[in-house]
Symmetry: D2
Subunit: 355 residues, 4 copies
């Protein structure tokens, strides 16, 4: 299904970084869901480049809804979001028409699309395409909120600086959703920004880890095989450019645990079934258990760096050197956080629509 | 789509641990692919419980193919595998009809299926259902091999003991496929088995990490959004019971890298485009780059342990204690390795069928 | 998705006419739906060959359920039906290994499957494969009945003899479900049987039209584009071997109507919204309107006839003559009727599971 | 999947008759397919209202492609078509906000979307949405033509006037594609137009039958169950508003045939396997046989007529009368013909992309 994801609701992404417009179609939303254009704009702002730690490319990112909304509410038919591209300096990318940027999709796109891809600014592979996901996500996040489900993502690690982990859900989630730079321990924000700037000054970039928590997801959603909650979330999360790992609950730490440490005991607390720990990240046998869903995404460093790199010429296949110019982010982890929230919302809302 | 996975080829899993039979339907295989029943039996043997480090339940696991194969070759229509259950001691599970085993799907199944699930031996959630995946996988692994693509999985870590990582592909892959206990450094096998036995003696269990390598996958497969190679593989891999994390290439280690370390330089080596390192695990922009695909799966410790645990009574919701009896594995990581190979084969063969 | 159909529930068909077994997997049924093995056997009997007007091949058609049912009720996980083949006289089909029977799939199968298909008795194309659909259908028909929805199909036309159309729903539906030979006007049964026998005596066969009515389907199901109720039903109904046309309500008669005759007026009758006529067959804009769903399927004459025919040799591509032997039906319309009910049930139950 | 159709290629439709824009996303097209904007405009013109026999609403129907095309060719990523709505006289529809037009989707939309639908001009149910299908279809028709496959649809019947059927393929197809009013026998054009005008003068409308032929489709495409060529085509064709029946080859005429008349004999003619007749419409066992594909769609009369009709008030559920004003087509069969071509092209191109 390529650029479409979802079963009960489905998101289709389209557009290229330097084309006329990017956008998304959200199909399957029930009729009568409020669409809050201010909240969409707020979410778009969280994804935007900010200050010295981000790319110099500035886009208005004004989201036009051209279908599926009537009198401020969903009609039940496809909602289409269009975001026009404006600040497209295609001249910056001349050399990149034939030199594959290491860590980017230039080479794989050339092979897959036989040279017909729109290479300008990464084309359809650009992180810019996530703007459509964020617009869709804003509508879905609102819908989830009205069902008592909230989602928050923080930068657990960036440039060697670690934030504390979630220890107070849902308050932690609420606090994140009001922050431009999403850390739980505010003192870490400046340290991370310094690390990012330091890399930028070296003509380099940094990676990081995003940690997401979901509160309020009821027990009983997901399937035992294939459409496990982990499988569905991971499937979608790996679409966030640069995500190269996804782990749930204790994740890779499970490898060094024994069963007696790893198992979460069930307890009845005030007539509600809980687990005393949450190593499983809220998912057992592929199915939600009613506890918070917790997962982490590994984000690789932005591949566009100013340092000179070795690569090949796509037209001649010969070795060459590359000095990337243009406007780039020394880190994307702080901008990707709202994309993680959006993707999570889409997957969970889709699951909730199973009868 | 619940218990069905795939686009060009599709696998449907069915069955319960203590029902009449388990099995799978493999649809979409081209006509004329040889089906080697001996190789199927060999793969099934790798998944079987072996010696002291595994459960005492012994199943013949004889695979009957009831459709889709004619004169030893696929017909192009659905191939159906039936594996009858024989060694089903249902009496062992009496108490488990109403006590939720921590770390298992008993509680989430009760919520999802409203008490109608076949709870015996974990029912449809049992690791036994992976036998169907392995049967399917054997056919697909053979088909991939004839296209020059090989897959191998080793136990990178188990019970605190670490194997070396891949450093000689494809020879490492070939060596693994002839080993019953899959480690690259043979000296680690006994250490790991000791660690497993030690946990068993304590009435406990251990987790681990599986690492998989794929050689020969051509460049250009996968999609930029949603159906990325990472997303598709992760979607399927999280169906392997106990897998709670999946990372590709450098994975979570990317978090502490800078772009200049992380980026894999492209080089033309003997008229073949390679990367000098393989941090990206053979996937860029969601698309294969022609280098080996490398990923790791975190496997949680077997949740069935003999130590007494706290849990709830599913019928009364009251707190209670649980002492699991019956036959269980102190580790499953060594048995899950062939399941990882099988799932990987299914996803990649499906991708290769895209025109 | 080839041999799998459905979204919320999904049916996978497998098997060949002269292989070990045929069957089906029904996934997505909610947990706790009663499975009545007697009713399954009754439905299977309606599909069976009966007396002089049907093939001499007799199959016990005993349906074994090997998964997904526990204590007589669905567990919520895949229900697998296995029907073993017994009365397989493969020697009858020798010449058909290389002569394409006109009107059959022998030639198209040879092209599609490159000669690897199981040609015996039509293989995977055999009408026998519909036995799996009928087994699945029996479970779904019961589930629909418990929601107040009933389905009935009669032979509107066969061998030049016409039955009356529905004029008393739901009583007509109920009466059909107790008849072995499904006509509304019982006097037509013998006439039709005579027409079938007459064709048989000529070494020939006859076609016909099936008409189906559904009562109790609530308004509001279906989609405006693509997944219209007409589109979904037709998609599935064309899988019934020999169906070559599907029309809803007035269908092709609409061509000669004017809008003022064609439009069904809405009326409030006892606080229920009805239409005064039902030319649209219960579907407007692709969505159910709460009136009975009415449609007709054109069924071509059984292509296996005893008269000598012209055809080609599949191995040499040369013209040749063919004298079909073996056991065949001079008509299948009376046997296909329960298949139509089953397919209809599957599509509608799937639709009803949309939230 | 609601408003998305297809497997290898997928079309998503969006928009409302009186919203900001309508359009479509076409995903899965291979890279490097030429996109001829002039041909798109030509196809759009065939769908447009023309002269006295069509609605007075005139739309520029300018198609903007905002993604997926670079240097005049597909890039391999989603192609998005946007058609802005301009001539939207919403004031015409005031009364229709609460009176259900007989034969329209107003009532079923009200039930399905709980009153939140955009009712103006039929909203998402409007025939206007087919403009997106035609834009997509134009690209796909071009791609098919370059593979030697051509499609043509004529008005077999309209207002009681019948055209001749296909008797000279592919010449008949070519001739149709140059005609604004698609009949094979040109003398019938004026008769049909007169019949349409006569109905218009009576404040009424007429229905008809479209017949489509496809030349050059190779043998071997389609599946035996569910994804039969008939099933896939019918699934999509029933999305064309007002289509209420689809039949292939002899279709409903099969009912009165005997097998000896119905079966198409295979013959080797100049080393090419043909059938001497084409009753099966080019499809056997759900699979193309290499002969022309032939099918017919029954089109109901435009439900919007000026004559007074009986209906209900959607807000009060009370009986009322309705006098439709606004601009409407007395027939849509002549405009739907290019939609039939487009839908056919989408389904067949999708099939051809199966490996």
């Amino acid at each position: 299904m390529k650029n479409t994801f979802g079963n009960n609701i489905a998101v289709t992404l389209f557009g290229e970084s330097h084309g006329k417009a990017i956008g998304a179609v959200l199909d399957g939303m029930p009729a009568g869901i409020p669409v809050d254009e201010e909240f969409i704009a707020y979410q778009m702002s969280l994804r935007k480049s900010v200050g010295a730690i981000s790319t110099a490319r500035k886009e208005a990112d004004e989201v036009k809804i051209v279908s599926g909304v009537f009198n401020g509410m969903t009609t039940g038919t496809p909602v289409t979001f269009i975001i026009e591209n404006q600040d497209t300096k295609s001249r910056d990318y001349g050399e990149l028409a034939y030199k594959a940027r290491p860590g980017h999709a230039d080479y794989t796109a050339e092979i897959k699309y036989k040279g017909f891809q729109d290479f300008r600014g990464g084309g359809h592979f650009s992180g810019r395409i996530t703007a459509g996901l964020v617009a869709v996500g804003a509508v879905v996040i609102s819908a989830l909120k009205s069902e008592g489900i909230t989602i928050g993502t923080h930068i657990l690690s960036c440039g060697g600086v670690n934030d504390r982990t979630f220890n107070n859900i849902p308050a932690d989630i609420d606090s994140l959703n009001n922050k431009e730079f999403a850390v739980l321990d505010d003192e870490k924000a400046d340290e991370m920004k310094s690390a990012i700037l330091s890399a930028k000054n070296d003509g380099d970039s940094v990676g990081g880890i995003l940690e997401t928590a979901v509160n309020g997801m009821p027990a009983g959603y997901g399937e035992p095989w294939f459409d496990t909650v982990e499988g569905l979330l991971a499937h979608a999360l790996f679409s966030i450019p640069a995500v190269k790992g996804v782990e749930f609950g204790a994740g890779f730490r499970y490898a060094n645990m024994r069963g007696s440490q790893a198992n979460d005991s069930f307890r009845n607390i005030n007539n509600s079934i809980c687990t005393s720990t949450n190593n499983c990240g809220g998912i057992l046998g592929g199915i939600t258990d009613g506890m918070p869903i917790i997962f982490r995404c590994a984000v690789k460093p932005t591949p566009s760096i100013y340092k000179e790199q070795q690569t090949i010429n796509l037209k001649t296949n010969e070795d060459t050197d590359l000095q990337i110019k243009g406007r780039h982010d020394p880190a994307i982890v702080h901008r990707a956080r709202v994309v993680a929230d959006s993707v999570t919302a889409i997957v969970l809302y889709d699951l909730l629509r199973n009868k």
